[in-house]
């Protein structure tokens, strides 16, 4: 069955489009809605958003692939993103990534077989004074230590 929004999300879609001076400006928030509804933005989701927005799937895919926060493939329930840019690197980001890799058994760019975790290394998250840090889904975790990272991962089911 082709993907489509639930009636509730469709209402949110219409309200979102109505907020903007032009429909095309709602592209980013609409893609967020689609990602939340469908889990990731695969070809079917992109084709659906393209129809809703009155644009070509190629153009929508061009937007999706430009930004790091849209996932074209399924990711784990907990997306663990360790900042690797200079301030965090000076603060020991590599050690944090190594601790996580050892604990959950995957390298950056991989997802655990049970779909619990995806691990990524990302660029500066505006948390340089509290390095090293990571973001898991929407939440920031700062001033990380081995103990802290272990406790955080244990708490994510």
């Amino acid at each position: 069955m082709a993907l489509e929004f639930s009636p509730e999300t469709l209402k949110r879609f219409e309200a979102t489009v109505a907020r903007y001076p032009k429909k095309e400006a709602a592209m980013l928030p609409v893609l967020y809605l689609a990602q939340r509804e469908f889990g990731h933005l695969g070809p079917e989701a992109i084709a659906y958003v393209a129809r809703l927005m009155g644009q070509s799937p190629a153009r929508v895919h061009g937007v999706v692939s430009f930004y790091t926060m849209y996932n074209v493939k399924p990711i784990g329930r907990h997306h663990v993103q360790v900042c690797r840019t200079l301030s965090c690197a000076l603060g020991g980001a590599e050690k944090i990534t190594a601790i996580i890799t050892k604990k959950i058994g995957i390298e950056p760019g991989q997802t655990t077989a049970d779909g619990r975790f995806t691990l990524s290394e990302v660029e500066c998250l505006a948390s340089c004074g509290t390095a090293p840090m990571m973001q898991v889904n929407d939440d920031y975790y700062e001033n990380l230590t081995e103990e802290k990272v272990t406790a955080i991962l244990d708490g994510l089911k």
């Binding site: 001076p21 709602a26 592209m27 200079l86 004074g129």
Partner: protein, 423 residues
Amino acid sequence: MEKLLLRNIGIADSHTLAVYQSRGGYQSWEKVVRDMKPAELIDEVKASGLRGRGGAGFPTGMKWSFVPKDSPKPKYLVCNADESEPGTFKDRLLIEQDPHAIIEGTLIAAYGIQSHTAFIYIRGELVAGAKILERAVEEAARAGFIGKNIFGSGFDLDVILHRGAGAYICGEETALLSSLEGGRGWPKVKPPFPATHGLFGCPTVVNNVETLAALPWIIERGAAAYAAMGTEKSKGTKLFSVSGHISRPGVYEVEMGYPFKKFLEDDCGGVPNGRKLKGVIPGGGSMPVLRPEEIEKVNLDYESVQAAGSMLGSGGVIVMDETTCMVRAASNIARFYAHESCGQCSPCREGCHWMEKIFHRIEHGEGQAGDLDLVLNISGNIMGNTICPFGDAAAMPAAAFIKKYRAEFEAHIAEKRCTVRTE
């Protein structure tokens, strides 16, 4: 020094409208709407000497004055909350703890250019900040500071919070506008400038969070009070985000012209663990690194940092102690730009990746004779040859690391290993 920008930081519930108003919040907005003509407001901001805090330091009042008064098109004000510059976290502090100051500044700026729709473009990763700002916008709208016929003046203004989706380049104002139009965050050729041809081809002003947050104070206390602080050309105060090898990292508000060395040593507690300073990036990852001897007489203002061969930029101060491998640091910064290049201009798209690859191989003991001059050559070919300042932002730090720590790079190439790190 009296704090302007951080005046509400650390106060309990500073993010709420009640606390913000109890500290005088939105009185400037009321004064502007009730008592000031747009031209008077622009003159006041010009007189304050306020310059854009996003990195370029362009005079704010002048930027507003470029918006045509007689255009039949709608005008837009955009608050740039897409803070992504490596080493910079000042806007995030204001977003999370003083969102109403940003909103009040946004309203004042919108009135100055007679915009009836303002956007706050917040970086996508700052989910907590977006929620706080969204709630604050709702509070301000309920209180009548946003919406129709504000303070009975007949002035209407809507504020739309818009989340980015993960792309450093969207902090560049024309890329931000492309993103806000629903496309890839691709910078546009200037001219035409956003002031005449911005969002959807309409007159648009994009101002940084910190710039806008300074406006309520300037209106409350007057342009002269603001201009009385700082240096001849760099007025007022500026936020500095301090990170890396420093005893007390964090966000500091400093009067423009404050001595850099004193700032690092006294205010921030200096380099910890009894180690020596090896280098410091004064204005975010885009700016050339400075050696310890180069900051001896530097003051924290646009002109002084520029005279020392770097730039004040975003005020993102990254401190590196003597144990830091500068090849590794350069490689880290180069990788950032290779990852973030938007891909439009060949010199940047190709050059950033080559610089990353060459630094990476030097770092991993595979550097070749001639590599350093090759990076300098690539850097020189990027500089000035791209649509937006991103190219320069990638090229300048790469060249500076080599020029200022050349012996260290050469030792890495000659000995095929890191000659600095002790771990």
